[in-house]
């Protein structure tokens, strides 16, 4: 809001990253969301992940749709360009932005209404095209800004604040993303920063479409008994398949786990993901197994979290289209315009 300004004071002892920036340099405007909103925790996790990765804030483009979650890009990375587009259509805007300049990092933030209801089509098509971006769904199962209607991710049988019971089957964003060909699929919980921050880092380093479905309780409309997206419910039913450590390229490998417990995945930029396995039998390199694992646990009312699937060797949309390395928005007349002589030849061929 224009009437709230954030003080620019920095604590003198705040640690700096390799760029000499503190976490404050990654923050945005003061959030206008409700106190205790899960979305604010996700914003904080994004700030932490970007700071830890020492990403230059201005090299990130933040995109969102419409809704509470889609407001949040204003609350982190204040030195990044942001785009709060139309309801459910962030994916297409992000696709176009990514096509224009392949060198920036693209971070999309959306909600369950935005991505599972009105924008389900665009969500699916972005995943299948493999747009190189991090796509965070801040999933609270409810429409907040319009005051408490069910969204399409609300579980069947879950109760609204006013007592209505949802009869419709839920859309599971991670299963959908897996089906659509997303190459980095994870779920987390806004209340579990230790899990969430490395998952965001892994998503940012991944090349291709990375989906992070983050259960993010709505304190105003969906945090009561009977809700399956409340803090209490998720804490009780959270079933983490693994714990993730993200290691940048330069960091040395420290073997501190016994073999068999750890899976190590090298991403295209040379950084590595180390997964400490928690659930037996879950292999994050197996798409079918991941779908199976998620759905069998879901049937038991468990919320499976962690890095569910990753394919580090994937190609993104630019590779599919075989575009030049130079960002398209930087090409000039010399590279784009065939010129008058060629036009004369075209004219001659059209008689």
């Amino acid at each position: 809001m224009t009437y709230i300004t954030k003080p620019k004071l920095h604590h003198p002892t705040l640690p700096a990253n390799t760029l000499g920036l503190t976490r404050r340099d990654y923050e945005g405007k003061i959030s206008t969301l409700c106190a205790g909103c899960g979305h604010d925790s996700i914003s904080a996790a994004i700030v932490q992940a970007c700071w830890e990765l020492a990403i230059e804030p201005h090299r990130v483009a933040k995109l969102s749709g419409i809704g509470c979650s889609s407001k949040t890009p204003d609350y982190f990375l204040g030195q990044s360009h942001g785009f709060n587009s139309v309801h459910g259509r962030m994916p297409s805007v992000a696709t176009g932005a990514n096509l224009a300049n392949r060198e920036l990092l693209y971070l999309g933030v959306s909600g369950d209404g935005d991505s599972a209801s009105i924008g389900l089509g665009q969500f699916a098509h972005l995943m299948r095209r493999g747009v190189n971006m991090t796509y965070i769904v801040e999933n609270n199962g409810v429409y907040g800004l319009t005051k408490g209607q069910f969204s399409a991710t609300a579980d069947a049988g879950s109760k609204s604040k006013r007592g209505a019971v949802n009869k419709d089957a839920p859309i599971d964003m991670v299963s959908l993303a897996l089906n659509m060909g997303a190459t980095y699929v994870a779920r987390s919980f806004s209340g579990d920063k230790a899990q969430l921050v490395p998952l965001i880092k892994g998503a940012l380093a991944h090349r291709g479409a990375a989906l992070l479905d983050v259960i993010s309780p709505c304190v105003a409309f969906n945090n009561h008994a009977g809700s399956t997206k409340s803090y209490d419910y998720v804490r009780e039913h959270n079933d983490a398949v693994n714990r993730l450590d993200f290691m940048p390229k330069r960091e040395a490998i420290v073997a501190d786990y016994s073999p068999g417990e750890v899976i190590e995945i090298t991403l295209h930029d040379g950084s590595r993901l180390r997964l400490r396995k928690l659930a037996a039998g879950h292999d994050p390199g197996d798409r079918l197994a991941a779908i199976n694992h998620i759905q069998s646990h879901q049937a038991r009312g468990e919320v499976v979290t962690g890095l569910l699937y990753v394919d580090p060797g994937t190609e993104d949309l630019h590779e599919h289209l075989h575009t030049v390395e130079t960002p398209l928005n930087r090409l000039t007349e010399a590279e784009l315009c065939p010129g008058a002589a060629r036009l004369a030849a075209i004219n001659a061929s059209l008689t």
Binding site: H58, V86, P91, L99, A100, L321, H322, E325, L336, C337
Partner: protein
């Protein structure tokens, strides 16, 4: 032949209509015919009349031959080439009295199937083909070429012209030249041997084509987008716009591949729908790439929400609307100019958008490139308003031109150096008084120039604001910007009658060739008409002036509701009584005959006032 109806005798001035079944391979033979007339130095204007279907339904190819160069649809048929039994009755009925019917006489038809005032010319095409070819596919395809051969004999088209053209057309696929040429010669010899002077229509060699090119508007607009520097194209298949995106793909593959790496200097996405295609264009435009989409009316309806965002958040976007008959699915393979209002004011809230009206492929090329410049300059959606008649028919047009000294106008973009030097930046500040603010591309500078783009209201520094004064200041600036567009868009083309005229006529787009002919026909009838061809919205100042100079102004357009007239009335505060609508909207291209009759009647009434009851007129 019915007594008293003379045969039509004409040289280089008639209409031939081929009735075919779609999917039968007639298109290339039809084009061969049209091009061979052009190679005889005689202007032609062919039009495809086709159904929304792939195979089996009737399709027509109407070729107007006009030495005087009239390229509009004339109306009426002098020679029907009736190759489709399904539409026989309709095709025969359409022929002008004294005209000709060319048909396959392999099977004899009862006399009732013919007209007494029409000369029938029968050739046993199926029989000849059956004897000559064993492959059924060959029989079908080469029959069409054989027809061109017979017509060449009848009309006097020089066979060398055809031979040369076939050689060019199948260059690289040489094995196709011989069978085609052979089929053509078979037809030609049959015509020369068995037919005499049955046909009163002739093609005589002239030099009336000049340096003009023969191309369809969609290909021309696609090429204009290549020359204009578009790097991102997102589209969803929709007749009659699909061939535009496909042509862009084809030209890019030729001209936009980096020779060193083999990588592409462009990205084309066939999106899942029009919402996504415009979203991709807006995302790319926001991020500094030149982007466009090609669509038609139904697509614009779907894009409307996004178009409002691009207007309000001020993001360049180029939208080519190849208009077709609406509303709803309407007449998807017929032409109209019926999306003016839906494009000029697309989206909810107060919006106004820039529209460009090309008259032919030459302007499709020119305006496509101009639209990309204007979108960047004005940071707003710009519509190129083509239509099916221009887009999907090959038309004679002035050659494309490009000045190598031309630089793309990227508009007001603040650079890293300018930000570093301390240039003040506020995304929506009217720094220059023209309503156009400076923007930055994402990723420009580590500390300065970042801003948040949104469809909600904001202050001049792009901060969220729901304050009334902030809102009003912003939308007033958008009006100033729209006003600035007035002088930047292509200006109207004025054509004065020889004497002083009380009447004016305003028209635009694909009405142009019919209008040129109508002006001439009306002049012959003593009706002098000044005309103004509009080439863009917002309207130039000269439009109001033109209207003020005339007692009455006809507004000629191809829609039911007089959409341009409404816009003139509303935007320029014109008294509606002074603007007389001339409306053609049955899906066929407007004709000079129609315009001449409509204007002639109204102007005639006004010109010839009854002596005794002068006031009543």
């Amino acid at each position: 032949m019915k007594i008293g109806v003379p045969r039509i005798e004409a040289v280089n001035d008639f209409v031939v209509k081929f009735a075919n079944v779609n999917g039968s391979g007639s298109a290339s033979a039809n084009e061969l015919f049209a091009r061979s007339v052009l190679r005889m130095g005689v202007p032609v204007s062919p039009r495809n009349i086709f159904p929304s279907n792939i195979q089996g339904l009737p399709t027509w190819y109407e070729v107007r031959v006009s030495e005087r160069g009239w390229l509009g649809r004339r109306g009426g048929v002098d020679l029907a080439v009736a190759m489709n039994p399904q539409t026989w009755d309709q095709d025969v009925a359409e022929i002008e009295p004294g005209g000709y019917l060319f048909h396959d006489s392999t099977k004899s038809l009862p006399a009732s199937k013919f007209r007494e005032d029409v000369t029938a010319i029968g050739v046993p095409l199926t029989e000849i083909c059956a004897a000559k070819y064993s492959d059924p596919r060959e029989r079908q395809l080469l029959k069409n070429i054989m027809v061109v051969g017979v017509l060449s004999a009848l009309l006097g088209i020089e066979p060398e012209v055809i031979a040369q053209f076939l050689g060019e057309q199948y260059k690289g696929k040489d094995r196709l030249i011989k069978p085609n040429l052979d089929a053509f010669m078979t037809g030609l010899h049959y015509g020369r041997e068995h037919l005499g002077a049955e046909l009163g229509l002739k093609i005589g060699r002239r030099d009336a084509v000049g340096e003009r090119i023969f191309v369809d508007g969609n290909a021309a607009a696609a090429l204009g987008a290549v020359y204009g520097g578009a790097t991102v194209c997102a589209w969803y298949p929709l007749t009659p716009s699909s061939s535009l995106a496909e042509a862009f793909d084809g030209y890019c593959a030729k001209f936009r591949v980096d020779p060193a790496s083999g990588r592409k200097r462009y990205a084309i996405v066939q999106a899942e729908d029009e919402l996504a295609s415009i979203g991709i264009v807006i995302g790319a435009g926001w991020n500094g790439a030149r982007a466009f989409t090609a669509t038609s009316g139904p697509g614009v309806s779907l894009m409307s929400e996004f178009i409002g965002l691009a207007y309000f958040a001020e993001i360049p976007a180029t939208i080519v609307n190849v208009q077709r008959g609406g509303p709803s699915t309407g007449m998807p393979t017929r032409t109209q100019q019926s999306d003016l209002i839906s494009c000029a004011y697309a989206s909810h809230g107060d919006t106004k958008h820039v529209l460009l009206f090309p008259e032919d492929p030459h302007e499709c090329f020119e305006f496509a490139a101009a639209a990309l410049d204007l979108a960047d300059r004005l940071q707003t959606p710009v519509f190129l308003m083509s239509d099916l008649d221009i887009g999907m028919n090959q038309r004679l047009a002035a050659p494309f031109r490009w000045d190598d000294a031309r630089r793309y106008d990227r508009g007001k973009v603040m650079t890293r150096e300018e930000l570093e030097a301390g240039h003040p930046f506020g995304r929506y500040r009217d720094a220059d008084g023209d309503g156009i603010a400076y923007r930055t591309y994402p990723g420009t500078h580590p500390k300065r120039g970042a801003y948040f783009t949104r469809g909600t209201t904001k202050d001049a520094d792009a901060r969220y604001s729901e304050s009334g004064p902030d809102y009003v200041e912003n939308v007033q600036r958008l009006l100033r910007k729209f006003d600035a567009a007035r002088a930047l868009v292509p200006q109207p083309v004025l054509r004065r009658a020889e004497g002083k005229s009380r009447f004016g006529a305003i028209y635009f787009g694909s009405t142009s060739p019919a209008m040129a002919e109508a002006i001439d026909a009306l002049a012959e009838r003593g009706v002098a008409l000044d005309t103004l061809r509009l080439r863009a919205f917002p309207f130039a100042d000269s439009v109001a002036q033109f209207i003020a100079e005339h007692e009455s102004v006809f507004v000629v357009e191809q829609n039911r509701d007089g959409q341009l007239r409404m816009m003139l009335v509303n935007e320029l505060q014109i008294d509606p009584a002074r603007l007389l609508p001339v409306l053609h909207y049955d899906g066929t291209p407007i004709t000079a005959r129609f315009i001449t009759a409509a204007i002639g009647e109204q102007a005639g009434r006004a010109v010839v006032r009854p002596l005794k009851t002068g006031k009543a007129a």
